[in-house]
């Protein structure tokens, strides 16, 4: 088992749940974490979907891996802020928090807390005290709701 999978293996899979975007829009978030190269890399594909129309409100991808010094590196793209490389910052055990600088003095911060079948995500990419994107998702591979 690789060290990154040791820590973040429980994230693997597909998560879905309500999201409130930084600009106030509401939708359904979908995060899909998949391991590659025997768990040396975890690739995330992220989406926010309009719950009425199904249209995509936001989309992006990220790579989560260890750097030479064994620190977690988060390299990402999303359609609103573009590309950014974030480095892990200290947080509670079991929480992945990473931050990195953006253009024009802005700072991006993401924190992911996974607890069993629940996933809480917070993302901010403006001024430190600016609005945040917040979502609580559940593991989508749960058994399907019984048909009525």
């Amino acid at each position: 088992m690789t060290t990154i999978m040791d820590r973040f293996g429980p994230l693997i899979g597909l998560w879905r749940g309500p999201i409130v975007l930084q600009d106030g829009r509401k939708g359904i978030a979908e995060f899909s974490f998949c391991p590659h190269f025997e768990g040396n890399l975890i690739e995330l594909v992220a989406l926010s979907i309009d719950a009425e129309t199904g249209e995509s409100q936001a989309w992006g991808m990220a790579h989560l891996a260890l750097d030479r010094a064994g620190r977690t590196v988060w390299r990402q793209f999303n359609q609103r802020i573009g590309f950014a490389t974030l480095n892990e910052v200290d947080d509670d055990p079991g929480v992945l928090s990473a931050s990195g600088s953006l253009s024009a003095g802005r700072q991006m911060m993401i924190s992911i807390r996974q607890d069993g079948d629940e996933l809480a995500v917070t993302v901010s990419s403006g001024m430190p005290d600016g609005p945040k994107t917040v979502s609580r998702m559940r593991r989508a591979s749960r058994t399907l709701r019984e048909r009525p």
Partner: protein
């Protein structure tokens, strides 16, 4: 429109071939080029194998997309060099050229040239960031990959079948 977003939709598919590594070893190469993020980006996923034993040797995955500032960049990872971010640089119209510095401080230059609709030639140069690229430096990796149709059995499936 950038070369990347014009060429990659045309290169969508499964490509295989061989690659030379610093003119010492020949490797089998498998590259899958496919749309991601609902067609708003493209991914190139490459694996290289020892042709005699079939053992996996190295791999690279990167996704290209257009940022809000119009620049084409990547989210990328290499089993040799770790996380990297490259940016598209101008080149001939049939060339995808990317360059950047990896998290491990290596200057990386990657090019794919379309020799024909189903043949791509690729080369990868790397050197410590800041070091100059010698006038006749050779690429660390170069090779050709081809896109082909799978073998189809002659009808009906009773004929000479290699599988």
């Amino acid at each position: 429109m950038s070369n990347a977003m014009r060429l990659l939709p045309r290169w969508y598919g499964l490509w295989t071939g061989t690659s030379e590594h610093e003119s010492t070893a020949t490797m089998s190469v498998r590259t899958n080029i496919l749309p991601v993020m609902e067609g708003r980006g493209f991914a190139m996923q490459t694996e290289m194998f020892d042709p005699s034993t079939g053992t996996f040797l190295r791999g690279v995955r990167f996704a290209l997309a257009v940022g809000p500032d119009g620049r084409v960049q990547t989210v990328g990872y290499s089993t040799e060099m770790g996380v990297f971010g490259l940016e598209e640089t101008p080149d001939d119209e049939d060339v995808l050229a990317l360059s950047g510095v990896t998290e491990s401080g290596i200057q990386l230059n990657v090019t794919y040239r379309e020799e024909s609709p189903d043949t791509l030639m690729f080369s990868v140069f790397w050197r410590p960031h800041g070091a100059s690229l010698g006038k006749n430096a050779r690429p660390g990796l170069f090779g050709r990959i081809h896109r082909r149709q799978p073998w189809r059995p002659p009808a009906p499936q009773g004929g000479g079948n290699p599988v």
